[in-house]
Symmetry: C2
Subunit: 346 residues, 2 copies
Amino acid sequence: MIIVPVDELTELGVKIFTAQGATEDQARFLVDTLVEANLTGHDSHGIHYYAKYSERINNGFIKIDQKPVIVKETASSALIDGNWTFGQITAKKLTEVAVEKAKKSMVAGVGAFNCNHIGRLGYYTEMAAKENIITTMYANVGNPSVSVHNGLGKTFGTNPYSASVPTGSDTPFLVDYASSVVAHGKISVARAKHTKIPKHWTRDMYGRVTDDPNDIYDGGWLLPFGEYKGYGLQMISELLGAVLTGSRTGLPHIREPPAPNGVFMLAVNPEGFIGLDAFKEKTAQLLSDVKKLTPVSGERILIPGEPEKETKAQRLRDGIEIPEDTWGEIMKLCNRLGIETGVTQK
Amino acid sequence: MIIVPVDELTELGVKIFTAQGATEDQARFLVDTLVEANLTGHDSHGIHYYAKYSERINNGFIKIDQKPVIVKETASSALIDGNWTFGQITAKKLTEVAVEKAKKSMVAGVGAFNCNHIGRLGYYTEMAAKENIITTMYANVGNPSVSVHNGLGKTFGTNPYSASVPTGSDTPFLVDYASSVVAHGKISVARAKHTKIPKHWTRDMYGRVTDDPNDIYDGGWLLPFGEYKGYGLQMISELLGAVLTGSRTGLPHIREPPAPNGVFMLAVNPEGFIGLDAFKEKTAQLLSDVKKLTPVSGERILIPGEPEKETKAQRLRDGIEIPEDTWGEIMKLCNRLGIETGVTQK
């Protein structure tokens, strides 16, 4: 395991993407979303994408010179054509438009299509919460890796869901998770670290129980969480993220471009309802009351978003751990691009 | 077990509530939501409320002579004061306003407070889908029965979530479930039927594993589904359903009026995005493709909403089964109100 200071990892990322034609602004935003994923403990959505996105740029799937454009609009809705630029740039635009419209119209919905992989949804719902707007966000992932409830084989992507609200206190409120038991990237991380995985995460190619992270690369699949309840969320993310926005659905199975996201965000301004000040005050009170509850023996009660906050504080201090395989791929990439890494390994 | 034809059960309900001062229209809508719950297999939300709501009318918690009123409004948002009439009447108004605003503004959000128990959320999201509007709906339940993740004791209600979309085919799409492993009413039904319950549904007053449905009436509690993932939905329904609308939250624990709902609905018009015809066509295709997938041995692949549709067809034909205890309470009520039941028991 390599440990790299956060600032150096960020500057390296900016170098990598500007060397391939991204503007400084594009690169800095993109890299911030990836480094933030590592900081908050979601390594599966982190800087291992430095190499993956570079490959997609090379293959023409990510079109750096394109920009997301609104193609349909009302005072409380918008549909964005991402034009296959970085998914993060499209998701940033989607969030900004949703927040702006919700500020004026109280409620807004914005969708995006022709959108590459946007990374961690929580990055965007948290962006909106900092602007005092409540959001829920749905995305489908165009590459199938998860079965439907009672289904054999991969049907849909990990189809994540996120929601965040302004809390009026230091306690965050951020829900952000895959509708599978785990995100696909968590299997990649286990594979890179050569560790086993829990038996309720995946099935092998024959539908058998397994704890080997390699099986999913050999015809196996992820399971939806909470049986039919997670299956419901999986389908909602497919219908709102993909069908409603005109994005590619998981079915029929098309492989390219890899892992695109159909994205839909609903944004709500508390001023249209109880009012912003009252919402923040009552939310802060509720979260504080929950924190004071008695936990079961040996456990802690955490508000959704608190584990991320704690991990971030620790990693900002200690740096980010990167598996040797991932680091090797990034070094190979830097070599190809002629980049001096300038990174201090701890 | 008593089996009663659907029409007779409906007419009996209308008699019961008009005898207590409800208008014919109010009573017929209210009773339709309850009978529909039984028809679709959700007995926990069904006609056992004939007796419970009558008790709440008697105690002054349900105010039959009141009407829901919009107290705050924009082109795409509304906040409704339910004035403690039947929750169903308030939820009907909320749905109608959300649909109307979404038709004009593409996206809308409507909340309600001072709202009695509204019953099954799926009734309202399905109402909107029939009007070609996509909805997601959040409700908190003001009486605590579910622990938070890792928490000891009851903190929040079963805080349900529902979503529905127009499908453009006979296959419905309806997600509707509690953020607990099961709805509280499912325990009541097991208790009335004197059957055991699965061990992952509840804990007893000491936090111990149990299969006795009585334990929850003696200090026990329900668990959120899918561990921290269901806990996230539980909190979202509390924040959107209760905090945003100014309704009573589960914390602090106040007992009266019993089981009020804070309700929030988001409504989306496909015309603001891919367009209605395309949305319905692509949704029908997707659901048909999912139906054709191979199931695991001995299971079936069902679209969310299909189990309800199948149960409804069977119960419309065969009548609704009612536990003796529930029927006894309704007969006692009819006796008190001087109502001739006119019901044919099968």
